[in-house]
Symmetry: D2
């Protein structure tokens, strides 16, 4: 439920509503939109009568939300969220490119890949220092050493750092190095971790679980938002289906669907979405044409010798050929009218 | 297995190979590529020794195919197949737009929609006269009356007609009206029907089954090709997944994947692929950016009163806004280098 | 909608209702239950007011159905349907065993397998004379020769014959040999075929499509029932999921779910449901424990040399060990109270 | 790779192998089977030549494992693992019943349900004190208060306690109350948590992720086993498919499949596996008939007023009717020969 105040509402009017909500054991979330104050009410709303609030001083309107996610919904906030990271904006007019290897392997590798993708137009470097692996015997990442390498690449290239955090205990450590926390697909419903990054006050790139619905993705975003962290970037990375020729099935429908349902920016990962380097360029173009705010792409200077995900990593050369195509598509669509809803 | 002949091979050399194959109970398929004759061998090839053929006069090369589909594969035929329909080419440089309502309802409806989509740039009218419906109590199509209306629309507008055929007995009737037979998703593995359209000598638009793999789609195409009908257009129309906010999940990966595996053209149906009109424009743009040779889109002059599929039909107005965007994307990509394989 | 008449209703009362329904362009289906006549109304029922019928002479009750399938639903008919085939009853108290190879290969093979499964307790022989195969180059069955062999096995062993029919044209031919028509999973939504077997007046074993929902299965059954053929046996044979270690995922939930929703008997095919012979016995036991009315099992005298489906065929020996276990489970459950609904 | 020693091998021979393995940066796992010592080697085994070990003193055999999971495999350990919990054994001859509500709600509720299920034959009480919920606004459990209630129920009834732990930080706390840690489906690939319970030295019930393959489940078990904790109980609880009439699709195939692949016990959760109370009894019977070592069932004294999962909870009465049926099935199967592999 959203309480919208009129322009003349006083601080006291707002406090009154917040206290009334607290007496009903509801959480409140105060925000400003278009000069007006809004108070979102969350918790057990079953059977709550809107008239409890509609007659109070300063209250202009009481709206019932139709979706189980509140703060993430367009109903709650209509304007697109701009996530500011350094000088970059995710969710604005410019396509944001995040590129780099699956795993941080060596300083040399990261510097080479970093300068390649920087040159081609990326503004973020990706790379895992903590790697979730199905088998306990696989390479699980360089840990803090990997984070240090990422920070050096940032220093040398100006690229911003997005890297995965896998458990609540790592949040403090990773916060010392990363510009954006990445929550991996396997952890999309790791609620202790979502709570932790929700409190950490830094942008979060939240990957869709491989068999999570769009609604579940938004409910996981809601966990982060409900701790007061507004900077959530959603990431479509393919879902698990019966098709076996590709690693996952990239759900291209989810891009416009998410833009309808939520104000949060949407980034697409065509590398996990396909699992095959040869399909990455075409699917990247598709994502931009569908309205993605950015791409998260695995790029490696030598994919056949990558320590992980070599099959789905494209070369620096392929990446540099791809970027102008993506920009061309974006230019072709700029200035066109929005789709009728 | 493919037998490639040298440039000097005589008719007699070729006949020799064909007879030898027949004695081994194999089917043969003779074709020309780049001036050379090729004979494809199909059937039970397990344990067949290539040297049975490699020493014969005129034989230059004997190649083993790695995929279960043969005639449909790039290994068998590298150049893209151009399906000629009237003056149109599906699979060439130009994006082909096939548009129209789900069902043929009335003459007036079809004339209105036909002129709308013609105006906007479509060259094919779609519309079902025979409708496969989950329930026996739903509207099952106008049958021959619907086919007559489609023919009148062609007469009046010059649009080519693509329409569904649901059983072998209907093939003769539908052939009297349609330019392209459509095989619906539910019938992708209706082998009696595939055999029938394979023999009918007319282009076939073959829709992927809602839970069929890409390999199964190509094997179904192989049924048609193996009867000597080379004009198969593949259609990605979304697959069934756990996501419930959309009717299907459009498998955008399949577009570049099919282009890798087969020489046949690929058309995308964003209407069934999403099930929501509001998502159709974005997903159409994505399909073009991913390299689709054409689109099959449900357009209705009054979607809220459509007799079927109203939720996923866009208006004529939305379609006319979409076409220039699609053309813009195609232009932006024309002349760019192909993706590295 | 169902019109239930009172015990005194006359023929004339019933005719009156049928004519009134016809004037509203509704189909009617007259049946007897517990001495009372019922008329089911099918077609476009949107907005139909029950009071059109509730005041008519002889009408006791007018019920609205909540499911899209009518004749197949428990709402329409509460008592379990007994499908009589020869002296056998499918859907009664006794577990019915249908066993035999995937394909009819030779007379010798069928006689051997036939006597094995007969000995062990089966009352039906299964075996395909027409085989739906993904590839046009695979063995597609012996056709009429296969049907003749099946009839000879019946002659020799007394086993009843269940075999697949793949197209409307084959219905007449297959009717000359089979006791039960099998509709394969790929043809579950081949409506021309459903219409044809609906009119053929012989029991039909309808397999669930590999990605069809339970509701769609019942709607396909409705096609057959709506032509006046009441003898439909449903068959759960596994659905397509992401799991790759088994060929399909047998949906055990569907057995009690179907018993809740429909009066039609339910048979389980653990061979296609698992794709692995070693799993067939355990899953067969599970099916019986879940309440299946019968099993359809692939048995071959020499699975490693079977022409098709050898991996999922069990030996005659394994089958004879399994049957007493199945009987033991059934005995253990006989006389127990039904589950609370 | 497994190094099997001969009966005369000395401690020194074994140490020698362990040191050699360490020098190759491999992890080792020493165990006894049938009087012989075995050393399992884990880590990067690509290209490792077995002859490095086969000639060493005391070494009888060097075996290469064919599956990515090692310690969990039947190749590594053939005899079934018995997980001892108090006086109970999970994985032995007796069916183990774990029952109780979804969430711990109140002391009164837990005492009532506890005595009901105890009476009927359960030996474990289940109930969540920490609840993973899709929405941050749903009831998330009573936390430590819930654990205390569980301990009181154990005190009063003798039932053992199985309850969920959701993050590494909770492990210490939950260890103070639980007899068995439950890892929920959403956390099956929460590797930090698997590591933590692997080190905690207490039995773990590991639920299959809702879209995890059987192989991934076993790899997650491997995480726990590789920390030296041998007491892992696997739990099949249904997978996510396209079917919408049931909450999940219980994968009955997985029960015999897991018994083939692994020595670990397998428990089935028919409550989450179906999501419908009316289907729970039939699916429970199926699980036992398929060979499950135990069941984990949601039972509530008043399902329609349960704080969570009421739709899938059965009443105490239904549970007491079910147990004798389960025992009847087990008796019917006891003493029957094992299935041929």
């Amino acid at each position: 439920m959203i309480i919208v105040f009129d322009l003349q509402a006083s601080r006291r009017d707002i406090d009154h509503v917040v206290r009334r909500a607290a007496s009903l054991r509801l959480k409140t979330h105060v925000s400003q939109q278009g000069g007006r104050t809004r108070v979102g009410l969350h918790g057990d709303l079953d059977g709550l009568d809107p008239s409890v609030f509609s007659g109070l001083p300063g209250v202009q309107d009481v709206r019932t939300l139709t979706r189980p996610f509140h703060l993430a919904s367009r109903e709650f906030k209509d304007e697109a969220t701009h996530v500011h990271v350094g000088d970059e904006i995710v969710g604005g007019d410019r396509l944001v490119l995040m590129a780099g290897p699956c795993s941080v392997e060596t300083r040399d590798q990261m510097m080479r890949v970093g300068s390649m993708v920087r040159e081609a137009g990326a503004t973020f470097i990706r790379g895992g220092a903590f790697k979730p692996r199905s088998s306990p015997y696989s390479f699980r990442g360089l840990a803090e050493e990997g984070l240090e390498i990422l920070a050096e690449v940032r220093e040398a290239t100006g690229l911003l750092v997005v890297t995965e955090v896998m458990s609540p205990e790592q949040v403090g450590l990773v916060a010392g190095y990363a510009d954006v926390f990445q929550i991996g697909a396997r952890n999309m419903q790791n609620y202790a971790l979502l709570d932790a990054v929700g409190k950490a006050g830094r942008p979060v790139l939240l990957k869709r679980g491989m068999s999570s619905t769009v609604e579940e993705l938004l409910l996981s975003a809601e966990y982060i938002l409900s701790h007061g962290n507004p900077d959530v970037i959603l990431c479509e990375r393919g879902i698990r289906t019966f098709e076996t020729m590709t690693r996952n099935t990239l759900d291209i429908n989810s891009v416009p669907l998410l833009h309808e349902l939520t104000h949060l920016p949407v980034v697409v990962d065509p590398s996990h979405g396909t699992g095959k380097a040869s399909l990455v360029p075409a699917v990247s173009r598709a994502a931009v044409a569908a309205g993605a705010d950015g791409l998260l792409i695995e790029v490696h200077h030598d994919p056949s010798n990558a320590w992980s995900d070599g099959d789905q990593s494209i070369t620096g050369e392929a990446f540099s050929k791809l970027v102008p195509q993506l920009m061309g598509i974006q230019r072709a669509l700029t200035g066109t009218e929005p789709d009728p809803r």
